[in-house]
């Protein structure tokens, strides 16, 4: 942990009310200021105790504190360094280690995820048993969505009309396996807005999950592979539709800072979020009406980590007939946060319930965000409370409007687990 980064914190506490765990528990140790204090204790020589590690593990990595901090504390970098330190120094309980090993040996590997798909039905039936074995396993199963029908994407999609740009597209591991329809919609929208889309096959994981969990070496391996893949594809801009992946890719240069060569290659590749890119490009394709009330949810890795709030709203408002509602407390994380709902199921659940209540208060028919993990999490919480909401990715809304079709997510409740 870099003491210089820690020193930037002036202990003013402005970040406290933005922090989901502080909002839940009201304890200093589970606030950004408290966690930074724990980091400084460690830097001054206190070993990582299980209590200390627990407070770091409880951090969602939502980066709301980075947005809130007037002193420019780089908490994102601090917590990444801390997690890596915890992984190196802190010996976890064997049961905990086993579950972490399982998750990190699974999620970032599309082929392993695919192999798992047929077993999900069985796992669901075994859920109570798994839950008893380890709450994290139960949470993992409860959250697994019904995989969408597999759609094979072509390697290259031609621009419709005049070609305005050539871009690469990241397919992402979880997105690709569980939400292939979002990738298909993204490719179509880009093409209809005049982009030639290059989609390299076998992309693999971008490393986001590994960075956010302190698995630095794994992260660096994945980052290099991703950079190489897009270099070979001959693009200098990569469009990403998953908020978590986009924010990590934007930080490749820092992750690879040890190697000037790789850092340079990372900088040469521009990562943009889909909404950011489309807003920058400006609309050309015709928008068809979509009469629906939408609540837009700010995914933390889009709003806090990438500062992208206005663009998706602007795009949604551009759809005729669509009425956009703001969700109160929109800055607060829904508790999904990558692997958080797997490792910290009870906090994730409380945050999900809180968010679900706020979403319900908007009266919207459809919940839209740039991160399927969030929408799944919120939809599950709404079901727990006896409600129901349909969910979609921003790309799917634009796709439906551009093509002028009645989208499937308006007919059926999305993301409902098979029972």
């Amino acid at each position: 942990m870099d003491p210089e980064l820690i020193k930037d914190c002036v202990h003013c506490g402005f970040c406290l009310p933005s922090c989901p765990t502080y909002v839940l528990w009201g304890e200093e140790m589970d606030s950004p200021r408290g966690r930074i204090h724990l980091m400084s204790q460690h830097v001054e020589g206190t070993p990582i105790t299980p209590e200390m590690a627990g407070h770091f593990d409880a951090c969602l990595g939502c980066m709301a504190c980075v947005t809130a901090c007037p002193s420019g504390v780089q908490y994102d970098r601090l917590i990444e360094q801390t997690r890596a330190e915890v992984e190196r120094e802190h010996v976890r309980e064997p049961r905990e280690r086993a579950v972490r090993g399982l998750v990190f040996g699974l999620f970032p590997y599309p082929r392993r995820l695919r192999a798992l798909r047929p077993t999900l039905g069985l796992a669901r039936r075994l859920q109570p048993l798994l839950e008893r074995a380890h709450p994290s396993l139960g949470a993992m199963i409860a959250l697994a969505p019904v995989p969408g029908r597999r759609q094979r994407l072509p390697g290259r999609v031609r621009a419709v009309g005049e070609r305005r740009a050539v871009v690469g597209m990241l397919t992402g591991c979880v997105q690709n396996e569980f939400f292939p329809q979002v990738n298909a919609a993204t490719a179509r929208v880009l093409a209809m807005e005049g982009c030639e889309v290059v989609i390299p096959p076998h992309q693999g994981c971008c490393g986001a999950l590994s960075v956010h969990s302190g698995r630095d070496d794994q992260a660096r391996r994945f980052a290099k592979r991703t950079i190489r893949t897009f270099e070979r594809a001959g693009v200098d801009t990569v469009v990403v539709n998953a908020a978590g992946c986009g924010s990590s890719m934007k930080e490749y240069a820092e992750l690879l800072a040890d190697s000037p060569e790789w850092a340079g290659r990372a900088r040469a590749l521009r990562t943009v979020d889909l909404a950011e890119w489309l807003a920058e490009l400006g609309p050309v394709a015709e928008r068809h009406p979509l009469p629906v009330t939408v609540a837009y949810h700010d995914a933390c890795h889009l709003a806090h980590a990438q500062g992208i709030r206005a663009q998706p709203r602007e795009l949604l408002r551009g759809v005729p007939g669509l009425s956009l509602r703001d969700i109160p407390e929109s800055d607060l994380c829904c508790g999904s946060a990558g692997t958080y709902n797997i490792f910290e199921p009870s906090a994730a659940r409380d945050l999900g319930d809180r968010k679900a209540e706020r979403v319900r208060s908007t009266g919207a028919q459809l919940l839209v965000s740039a991160n399927p993990g969030c929408t799944m999490q919120i939809a599950a919480a709404m079901r727990r409370a006896g409600g129901e909401i349909r969910v979609a990715h921003t790309a799917e809304i634009l796709d439906a409007s551009l093509r002028g079709v009645s989208p499937s997510f308006l007919d059926a409740a999305g993301g409902k687990p098979r029972s």
């Binding site: 009310p17 528990w25 009201g26 204790q41 901090c69």
Partner: protein, 479 residues
Amino acid sequence: MLAELIGRLGEVLEPEAVITDPVRLRTYECDGLTYHRATPGVAVLPENAEQVAGVIRLCNEYGVPFVARGSGTGLSGGALPRTDGVLIVTSKMRAIVEIDLPNRRAVVEPGVTNLAITEAVRDQGYYYAPDPSSQQVCSIGGNVAENSGGAHCLKYGFTVNHVEACEIVTPDGDIVTLDRADPGYDLLGAFIGSEGTLGVTTKVTVRLSRTPEAVTTVLAAFENIEQGGEAVSAIIAAGILPAAIEMMDALAIAAAEAAVACRYPENAGAVLIVELDGPSAEVERQFALLSQICSKAFELRVAEDPAERAAIWRGRKSAFAAVGRISPAYIVQDGVVPRTSLPEVLAGIDSLSREHGIKVANVFHAGDGNLHPLVLFDDTEPGAGERAEIVSGRILDLCIEHGGSITGEHGVGVDKARYMPRMFTDADLDTMQLVRCAFDPRGLSNPGKIFPTPRLCGEVPGVRKGVHPLVESGKAEQF
């Protein structure tokens, strides 16, 4: 003593509400003034007044001191824990108990943040008027303890003008309500601003104000601070009472710019933020006057909508925390001077700064002469901290010399206790102690704060020898 007390906390609190792990405890070692640190003997997170009272009764039983803490944003070390005591943290007591719009009141628990009150009633056209810059995080319990103010206190007054009643746990563990409407002594008035030394607040009844019909916010940029100061005097002389008049100097502007890119006019030696509010016609009239008065300003920016207003305020509200961007360490000073001495005092601060080679950024509530000089230093440079301390202390001397005060709104805490004798005579201080003793005869409630050396209250160390002059002359009685 403490160990025995800790053993019995389970009678009052859930196990998770008692923090004894040393690593976790240390996160509570300081408030917003990190200069003073002490790890609490134990920290507790009660959820209601009964639990607070239970803890305080145990403290009485064992003669253990206790310190209340809200959000820990205080800037005078008021919530500095005692290593031999209990830290009572109110951050789990954050329910809004009741909102009574017809009577314009709200009842809230002490851990509720200042801004949360406004957010709860904003849509109905109301707000809670005192607005410290830390309003999104500081607790109402802390505001009551510090009698906090903010930019808009020029027109609307401090916390004391907006609190109707407080439920408190007295230092001997009774739950009582102090209500402004009660006949007899204004005990509520004595309690507000007592910095946690007269008991712990467990519920606050605040007054809600109507959102003004019109608000106009003006940003005026001047070439130098003197021109800004003249404008302030002229505004007041013209009989305008703005909701706020805030001033920032070039260094403070640079910090805010670095932190939040507030885009204040370039090359400004000083900016004034003047906010006019009230009925539309009145605001228009005042604005016309104000534009004339600010004729020396090289740029006058007027906010037309809430977004633009927020943009103007953003720089000012972030200023304290933002100096972290331009200096590794700093001291936030808080002093008051009569408005008319502003130019002299500012010149004095400037020469102190030169003399000691320590930069000072100035942010202040210019309307009521409340200065917040930010004394900047590099804590890795040998001797810099000491020099900053000297400059910071001398600024307070300047304030006193000009007939002002050593604190406007951040309180005395531990940090300024040693300056109290410069402002008050022994007799003054002893009189204050008598009030303290009436509430807290054993000196258990936040001891070591406000007063340089504890005196008078029976059991406290350093007891004054002999009878207090006021007692002797029959003007006061000792409890």
